[in-house]
Symmetry: C2
Subunit: 362 residues, 2 copies
């Protein structure tokens, strides 16, 4: 389906990703309609229209579907049932396909799927009981991280296990829900690839981005990443393989660890985000097309752009919590673009904005 100028893209979720998607849709001549349960969603400020409603409110969802030409989402925890309801007969196409949601909402299913493609991941095992946790530890070794299979992000729903004696406490801390144990990886660095796949099957990857986390939250992303050309090519190959296997339409982020095996760098896939990704925010200011525009192009059935980096180096720094209160220094810094999400009061671990620094030249 090719959307025409004036067509409307519906976005599930009203946070900063929806906001940046809407800002990228406008120059393509596309309108956006945001659906969000939150009354003061920051994406409402920049869209043609919005609907406030729970993800279970079928009346509101039906009205939303009537008002848009296609539906996409800004976050992976949209209930799969909501996406299925919207895409049912006579309603609207949902892109990327809701089946990808179901797959990536469960860490175990996701890892099994990636492994089935012949792509390396950190060692992992399913954990459904305290006994299984001990078996998993025997198999994988320590240290390791116990994670809930669903609904975790930014370090939530995780418990580190350094010694076997901590296992039972970790299991209790996650309240006995189905979990996955992941072995610690001694990585050289963390990188990600933002890949876009168009409705026509064309895949375009942004260049490999190097990420530094602070307290489990992305802190700084930098391009170019300090990786070999071979590693860069391998990382893009992996992301492309996943996007193709999914029959994906839109932008996805693939987080990877860079490890050294027999002297050469290789990647292990850590996590897949079926949406635009924080580590791709640098592309707004630092590339000839942004991940947000690329996603909107894909969802609208338009051709993808070939992304080129602008500048010899680009750096994205997240503004977390109170860091948003000190924007003056960034406003004055040459080559720096400020992105305030307009999310109201800052709380300690909340992503409130980001800045991008571009060093022009080659």
């Amino acid at each position: 389906m090719l959307l025409k100028v004036g067509a409307t893209i519906g976005i599930l979720g009203g946070g900063q990703l929806a906001r940046m998607l809407a800002l990228a849709a406008a120059p393509l001549g596309l309108r956006c309609h945001v659906y969000s349960p939150e009354k003061n969603s920051c994406a409402f400020d920049v869209v043609h229209d919005y609907t406030i409603g729970d993800f279970e409110d079928e009346d509101a969802l039906a009205r939303f579907a009537d008002a848009v030409d296609v539906v996409t989402y800004e976050f992976e925890n949209v209930p799969a049932k909501t996406a299925a309801f919207l895409s049912r007969r006579k309603r609207k196409p949902v892109l990327p396909d809701p089946k990808v949601l179901a797959l990536t909402q469960d860490r175990l299913v996701e890892k099994d799927y990636v492994a089935s493609l012949g792509i390396a991941t950190a060692p992992y095992a399913a954990v459904n009981s305290a006994a299984e946790l001990h078996e998993a530890i025997d198999k994988i070794g320590l240290p390791a991280v116990l994670k809930t299979r669903t609904l975790g992000y930014d370090g939530k729903g995780q418990a580190k296990i350094m010694k076997a004696s901590e296992a039972d406490a970790a299991w209790r801390a996650l309240r006995g829900v189905p979990c996955i144990l992941e072995g610690f990886v001694k990585f050289e660095r963390e990188v990600s690839v933002i890949a876009a796949r168009g409705a026509d099957g064309q895949v375009e990857c942004f260049e490999v981005t190097e990420n530094v986390h602070r307290d489990h939250i992305l802190h700084i992303s930098t391009v170019p990443a300090k990786v070999s050309p071979a590693l860069g090519a391998e990382a893009k190959r992996v992301a492309t393989k996943i996007a193709k296997a999914f029959g994906y339409v839109g932008v996805m982020g693939v987080e990877m660890f860079v490890v050294r095996r027999k002297g050469a760098q290789h990647v292990l896939v850590n996590e897949i985000a079926p949406r635009v990704h924080n580590s791709g925010h640098w592309t707004i200011d630092g590339a000839t097309v942004s991940q947000f525009e690329q996603h909107m192009r894909a969802v609208a059935g338009l051709p993808l752009a070939k992304p080129l980096r602008l500048g010899k180096k680009v750096e994205m720094i997240n503004l977390i919590g109170d860091e948003i209160l000190d924007t003056a220094r960034w406003l004055k810094q040459p080559g720096t673009s400020l992105h305030v999400y307009g999310k109201g009061k800052p709380s300690p671990r909340r992503k409130m904005g980001h800045v991008t620094r571009v060093w022009p030249g080659k």
Copy 2:
């Protein structure tokens, strides 16, 4: 006045300039409220709120003033009375100051003002009658252009006079309104400087842009312009002088002719636009800060950014009328950004969008 995150900027006018201003305000954490007489204004798609009303509708204007923290405008033909009404006691600051509107809405007053600053312009003379037109021709020579003093743009309200025998017809064609006769300038090229002045008096100019017109409408803007470094410095000096003399707050465009005198390039000021300007559209994709963001920073009382060009060359091409129907080729071109204004049906001389081409590197 320094606006805080969540503050609202009111924009008079709802066309593409308002739309691009709103898109630039969002990342600064600022909301926009557009006031426009047109029911389907394209800026409505990307703003927090809007008011539909005539510029003479004082009730609607008062409601608009109540809803915003500061008022700016996207075009110079906002009735000076409207701006004055909004800025009256207990209402809201209007930036740039409405007195600049009054000054630039009249070609004669504008030229007299520029000349009073010791800045060169094309030769000109006031024309209030057919007899005065003949006197003006004797003084200035031919060919020349007769222009209405107010309300002309994109070649409207103009009549070329090649021979003295065409004078009376030209006078009649412009219906006897107060006019100005401007002598033809043998220019080497047309350039413009987009200058921003902050509330604190800081001035930042974008680099000199070279412009090619087609049928009196801007066709292509290119940076770098083919001018000497000395000419570049002179052009920025002239724009800065005007911005300072106006006590200007915001972005303005100064159109200039480059002429050669005694072997060296010099500028003659052609026209001043007290607003963001078509020849500055390249800055969205081709500079580390856009003219739109720079305007919003100034109006919000934030510090201006120091603009740096991205890429070794940047080109902006207007999409006029039906050209908007053939966007596919631009979408596929690497380094090219499409900007569709969402203005509905294209008519022959209507600005429907633009594309920016950036050549990365140094």
